[in-house]
């Protein structure tokens, strides 16, 4: 790993460990690539690759019924797929945490990403989620820490948006 590689993905992984996250499900995004790699290398964490993001809402509800904590990793374009499913943790008062890598908000070069990226905070809030946002590297782990606390201690649904400013436009997977 080069010296200038970002450290926040490793910090997010440590936060998952600290909060005893055992189920990680995702539709992959470059913004989550290092975190997914670290989780897949961890025998204590089961990683499920989903066909569509809304499956993650159901899977994590089932995992909570079974007594384990989890997190859904997705890109902002996947948020729209989850909307009706988010009624499940809401109506059952279950904890739910998703970490969303943002597209379509800061210097986006793919126009198709812009509508959902721009709508992401509003639609999540409309479904009753608490929305945290990390714009700077030093905010990422703190935001995820706070999200796990309010979700699992207070039974809430929370989204942490990792802004495109934080992630950057290009592939930042640390080699």
């Amino acid at each position: 790993m080069s010296d200038d590689a970002p450290t926040w993905p490793a910090e997010l992984y440590e936060m998952l460990r600290r909060h005893n996250i055992r189920q990680v499900c995702h539709v992959p995004d470059a913004g989550h690539a290092e975190l997914i790699d670290r989780c897949e290398a961890d025998n204590e964490i089961n990683v499920t690759t989903l066909t569509s993001e809304e499956e993650g809402v159901g899977l994590l509800a089932g995992a909570w019924l079974g007594g384990q904590r989890g997190v859904l990793l997705m890109q902002s374009s996947g948020v729209g797929n989850t909307i009706n499913a988010l009624a499940l943790p809401n109506i059952c008062k279950m904890p739910f945490v998703t970490i969303v890598s943002m597209r379509g908000e800061w210097g986006e070069f793919v126009p198709w990403q812009v509508p959902m990226g721009q709508a992401t905070p509003a639609v999540l809030e409309a479904m009753g989620l608490i929305v945290y946002r990390a714009d700077k590297p030093e905010e990422a782990a703190d935001s995820v820490d706070a999200a796990f606390k309010i979700a699992y201690d207070s039974g809430k649904s929370v989204a942490v948006l990792l802004s495109q400013k934080l992630i950057g436009a290009k592939d930042f997977r640390a080699k």
Binding site: T51, G58, L59, A61, L65, L88, P95
Partner: protein, 196 residues
């Protein structure tokens, strides 16, 4: 002669092992499961159509020592087809799925589902990589599906073709999601230091 869903569910859950966990899909499938017994190991999904297979997957992954049975309808299963791929990919050996297939959206006026045409749910599950799949149109075939769903190494997938008929809703079952979740977790996990 078509099978009747309430007779099917009575047979499926007859002599139910006390450690069996049942996820029931929305609509008539939840009423079916509740019509046998309102067991605390039942989780009735009251909405979020298409999500019951994912809920059953999450439960099966986290409770590998317990048998998990999903009972749902063809409409819910068609909306959650992608999850069949996710289930097969994860391969939980403790998960059985039974689809009560009346080839209709029974809650909304009986409009046809795709299973009334060419769509073969069991073939889709087999194509995803489920170890065993079966379709039952007779009582004898249905018995084999019950045994497979409850005890064969999973993930296994059975379709039982049932009549499109009106059956009583079981509205006395718990429908408050928070209560259902708390009851299910207390029954399964006992006291935990986690918040319910």
């Amino acid at each position: 002669m078509a099978l009747h869903r309430r007779e099917v569910i009575s047979e499926l859950l007859r002599d139910r092992p006390d450690d069996l966990l049942v996820v029931a899909g929305l609509g008539t499938a939840s009423s079916d499961v509740a019509s046998v017994e309102d067991h605390p190991g039942n989780f009735y999904v009251g909405g979020v159509m298409g999500q019951s297979p994912a809920i059953a997957l999450g439960l099966a992954l986290t409770q590998p020592e317990r048998r998990v049975l999903l009972v749902t309808g063809d409409g819910d299963m068609l909306m959650g087809l992608g999850t069949l791929a996710s289930i097969a990919d994860q391969g939980p050996r403790n998960l059985g799925i039974v689809v009560m297939d009346n080839e209709s959206y029974g809650e909304t006026g009986g409009q046809k589902t795709a299973t009334r045409g060419r769509v073969d749910l069991a073939a889709i599950a087999a194509g995803c990589g489920f170890g065993q799949t079966a379709v039952a149109t007779t009582a004898k075939q249905a018995q084999a599906v019950y045994e497979m769903a409850l005890s064969a190494p999973g993930p296994v997938f059975g379709v039982i073709k049932v009549a499109m008929e009106s059956v009583p809703r079981v509205m006395g079952r718990p429908r408050d999601g928070g209560y259902l979740k708390d009851r299910f977790r207390e029954n399964l996990l006992g006291y935990t230091q986690e918040p319910l």
